[in-house]
Structures are given as C-alpha cells and as structure tokens.
C-alpha cells in the first residue's frame, strides 16, 4: 500500500492530536489523569455527553482540555440513516466543537435514529449506491456546518444486507473520495467484522484506503455464538485489547507510521492504571513504527 502523506488534521484550529496513544475519557479517571506522571497523548470524549448546558461534565472537560489535546467522537448523528440529519443535533455538535476546539472530530458509518426514535446502538447500513449517496450528503452537511473535516469510522457489524452491491472498503473509499472526509480506522471493528463475516482482517486492511486514516481505535471484544453455533464477536469495549488486534495494529502502524491511537473502554471500566497500561502498549508500538531514525531525531530535538 502506498504510504501517502496524511493531511494535517489541524487545519481548522485546535490543538493537534499527536501520533501517540490516547484514551476515552471517563469521569472516574479525570483526577487520576490530571495527577499522573505518565502523560497520555490525548483524550477523546463522546460528544453527546457534553451537550448539556453546564455543570460537572463541562468543568471536568475544561480542566482536561487545558492540559491535553482533545478529540471529539460523535455517537448520535445517525449519518447512515434514511432520514434527514437532525439539524438540532448537528447544531449541538457544532456547539461542543466550537467550545472545545478539538484536534479531531469523528463519527460513525452507522445509524441510530429513525422516525424520531433513537435506537441506542450503531446500526448497520447496506453498501449500495443509494446509501452511498445519502451518507455522502450527510457528511458534507456536517462538514459544512462545523466548518471542518470530520473522520468517519468503519463499523463493527453482525449481519449483512442482500442488497449490498459493493464491499465495505470500497464503500468507505468512495465516501472519503467524494466528501474529502478523513477516516478513523477501528482495528478492533475490523477484527470483529472479519470474524463475524468470515474474511481475513489482513485482506480487509489491504483494501482499506490507509492513506486517508488520521486516527486508529483499539478496544476489547467479547465472544458469543451465532445461529450455527460458530463464534461471533461482540464489539463490547469491556476488556483489554485482544492480542490478535495488537498484531494487526503493528501491521498497520508498520505501514503508515505513527498515528493517533485511542484505547476505548466503555463498559466494566477499570482503574485508570489498567487503561494506562493499554495506552503504554500502544505507545511502544507507535515508537517502534517511527523507526530508529525518527526516534534519534526526536532525542536530538529534545536535546
């Protein structure tokens, strides 16, 4: 795969996200993060958690934002939905982005709202021309409203649609080409979907437009069984990153070099030290991917 230079994610202001490990911000960890001698590279928040008017959530995020680069990850825009985007929700996202000036803003290739009902999950989309056109319209609308590029995340899925006419990687590449959005590559999602649909994760990554990736997500998954009794993986974010996902991560960073990498842990949330261990693992792999020349230069620059 060509190692195309990535566009700088910071062309619209806000502190740039360094090519280091970051963590999904949990309220319970705020004090530990602020007082830790290990400095996490960046923190990422779910935009929807900061759409209230004020109070403790904004106070905590304000304190974090003063000390760390911040990334904002939306979970409720329903970009893949059939209906029009909820303009009120787009405006709420804009308010969060304007207030905190994050280095990166991302959303999902999924849907969650239909007919004024909100389904609290990231639901799958068919990969056909009609959906492609709609998703592109929605992303353009969001980028226009925010006045900046967003990243789109590849989904974890459990089912396929008969009506799909193209591969997920083709679908995502088309979106990036048509809208100019960046991509967020969730390697756990790749592994989960590959297992669930019986393809090789490496083959998926071969086809994925890696040159457009500006951020990586890593998380844990849980095994279950499908209708035939075969293993199916749930994107549960409730445990450490699987060794096989770390392996894929090494492959990807080996190809595209150091890149902001988020550890997600959203259920059965552990002590900060456990999450930090995962982040430090990602930092080590990132350093290795920078190659000896780069680290020498960094050392020289630090003087």
């Amino acid at each position: 795969m060509p190692d195309t230079p990535r566009p700088t994610q910071n062309s619209y202001g806000g502190a740039a996200i360094p090519p280091r490990a970051g963590a999904g911000l949990k309220t319970a960890h705020v004090d530990a993060i602020l007082s830790d001698s290990y400095r996490i590279g960046f923190l990422e928040v779910h935009a929807e958690n900061y759409m209230g008017d004020g109070g403790p959530p904004h106070r905590a995020l304000g304190a974090i934002r003063e000390k760390f680069p911040l990334s904002v990850h939306g979970v409720g825009l329903s970009i893949g939905g059939e209906g029009r985007l909820d303009e009120t929700h787009v405006a709420r996202l804009k308010k969060v982005v304007d207030r905190y000036e994050p280095g990166l803003v991302s959303e999902h290739l999924a849907w969650s709202t239909h007919d004024n009902s909100y389904y609290n999950d990231l639901l799958p989309v068919p990969y056909d021309e009609a959906t492609l056109a709609r998703v592109c319209r929605h992303i353009e609308q969001v980028q226009e409203a925010l006045g900046r590029q967003i990243l789109l995340e590849n989904p974890s899925t459990y089912v396929q649609f008969d009506q799909s006419t193209m591969s997920e990687t083709d679908f995502i590449r088309q979106i990036a080409v048509r809208t100019g959005c960046g991509l967020l590559l969730d390697i756990n999602n790749v592994f989960v979907s590959a297992t669930n649909h019986g393809y090789e994760p490496l083959a998926y990554l071969e086809d994925f437009p890696l040159g457009r990736v500006q951020e990586i997500h890593l998380a844990g998954h849980a095994p279950d069984v499908d209708d035939e009794g075969d293993v199916i993986l749930i994107d549960s974010h409730d445990r450490p990153v699987d060794d096989r996902v770390w392996g894929l991560y090494e492959v990807v960073t080996g190809r595209i070099g150091p890149i902001p990498t988020l550890i997600e842990w959203d259920a059965d949330i552990p002590e900060w030290t456990i999450l930090r261990k995962e982040a430090m693992m990602a930092d080590r792999i990132l350093e290795a991917s920078a190659g000896p020349d780069t680290s020498l230069r960094q050392r020289a620059a630090r003087g």
Partner: protein, 255 residues
C-alpha cells in the same frame, strides 16, 4: 431482485423481540440471522437499561437490581427514547411508576423518580454564580421587601406527600432506610451551589416561599404566602437555607 431493508423494517423488527429478523438480512454464506439480529436488539435494550440505572439509582436500589432491569425493559418498550441525549431519557418514568401495578405498594416511588430527574437536570444545568449572603448584604434595608430574585438554572423545588427527599438522600449515599418514615410528607430542594448537586429537605413553608420567589414574587409576598401555608414558617432560617443552597442566581428586576 434483492430484498431491500428499510430503516422502518429494521427498527420494527428491532423493537419487537418476538418478530423474526427482517428479510434481506443474513450472515455470511447465507448463514441465518436470528442470533445475529438479536445482538442489535440486546445492545439497544441493555444500553438503555444502563442509562436508566444511572438516572434512577435510588429507584433501582429500592426495587432491587434485577426487578429494576425487568421493569426498565417494559418501560423502554413503551417509552423508547426520542433523542440521542440519554440524559434527557426517562422523563415519563414517574408516571410509569405511578401506574405500574407491581410497585403500587411503594407509593413514594414516583416522587423518588421525580427527585432523581431534578437531580440530573441540576447536574447538567447552565453555570452561573449564586446569589450569596454578601449579595443580600448589598441590598438596602428599605428595599428588602421588594426584592425579587432569579432562579439559578439548577434549582428545583419538589413537593412530596412522601419522604421522598430523605429516601433519595439515604439511598444515594448507601445509608440505611430503617429510620425513615416514608409516609411523612417532605419538600425537597435541589441546587448546585458549587461544583456538586445538593438535595435538602425543606422545613415547613419553605417550599412555598422558594417557589413564590422562583415564580417572581417580591420577598415580602413570598414570606407572607409561606406563613399562610404553614404557621411554623421561619423566615430568617428559610433565607439562610436559600443562600447556603445557592437557590438563586441574580437579583431580578425590581418593579
């Protein structure tokens, strides 16, 4: 021709655990989709149960975790959320509890839920400074009767025929409920004076006093209304509580 699946078909099946997965959805190599589709159903419901558990921790503790989860499942089917902001979910929980036969013996439960919603509203309310004792000190004696105040965005007065404030406070702090008489009527005041939400029990008449001020009454008229409401109303004490709790933000317009 391939079967297409609309969002409507998908969500109709998603919301009904007894319906099959939509036609046109499958696993790889024609594998079946029932268990696979159930993962989405489960994700939606479990996520919402968790959200309700975070909004109503006292209700959950009072009825027991397992019962709460089963009840939440029924609530979710009848009252799906209509916003991706889950801190706005559960608004109809007090009404649901009032009509839910299996908890009819816990008559205070709807008011407990109402208080927990007020607590959540206070948590997310806008930031603004509180009207303090020092602020009150700047008001000339001659203008005190005519003083009008503006409600702090976090402030909520909740009147209950039950001991809802004590029950919520004890339940949230993990304290024993043994000493609480649930049938003693209580008024509660939810505020956010500093960084954290506070819930206090109000003394007799104070709820009328504070609610009158919130509704724009002059201080003298609010005090008079409170005295009419309850002969035990203690104005100096009510003012002290009001200032400590940070119930108001700015001096309103004096008319």
């Amino acid at each position: 021709m391939q079967t297409t699946v609309s969002n409507r078909e998908f969500t109709t099946a998603l919301s009904d655990p007894d319906s099959p997965a939509p036609e046109g959805i499958r696993g790889p190599n024609r594998k079946k989709s029932a268990n696979r589709f159930d993962i989405y159903r489960n994700n939606v419901v479990v996520g919402l149960i968790d959200a309700l558990g975070e909004i109503f921790p006292a209700v959950a503790r009072l009825v027991g975790e397992q019962f709460f989860q089963d009840m939440a499942r029924l609530y979710i089917r009848a009252n799906p959320p209509n916003s991706p902001l889950l801190f706005r979910y559960g608004r109809s929980m007090p009404d649901f509890l009032a009509k839910f036969e299996p908890v009819a013996h816990l008559a205070y439960l709807p008011d407990v839920a109402r208080m927990e919603l007020a607590w959540l509203d206070a948590f997310h309310a806008a930031d603004t400074s509180c009207f303090s004792a020092a602020d009150l000190g700047t008001v000339p004696q001659s203008e005190l009767d005519d003083l009008r105040l503006t409600q702090h965005p976090a402030t909520r007065v909740i009147r209950s025929r039950w001991a809802a404030a004590s029950i919520v406070s004890a339940t949230r702090s993990g304290a024993s409920l043994a000493d609480i008489n649930p049938t003693a009527p209580e008024d509660g005041l939810v505020t956010r004076p500093g960084h954290d939400v506070q819930l206090r029990r109000l003394l007799p008449g104070a709820a009328t006093f504070l609610q009158s001020l919130i509704d724009g009454a002059r201080l003298a008229d609010a005090a008079e209304a409170a005295g009419r409401d309850n002969a035990e109303f203690d104005l100096p004490l009510a003012i002290r509580v009001m200032l400590e709790a940070g119930a108001f933000s700015l001096r309103g317009e004096e008319v």
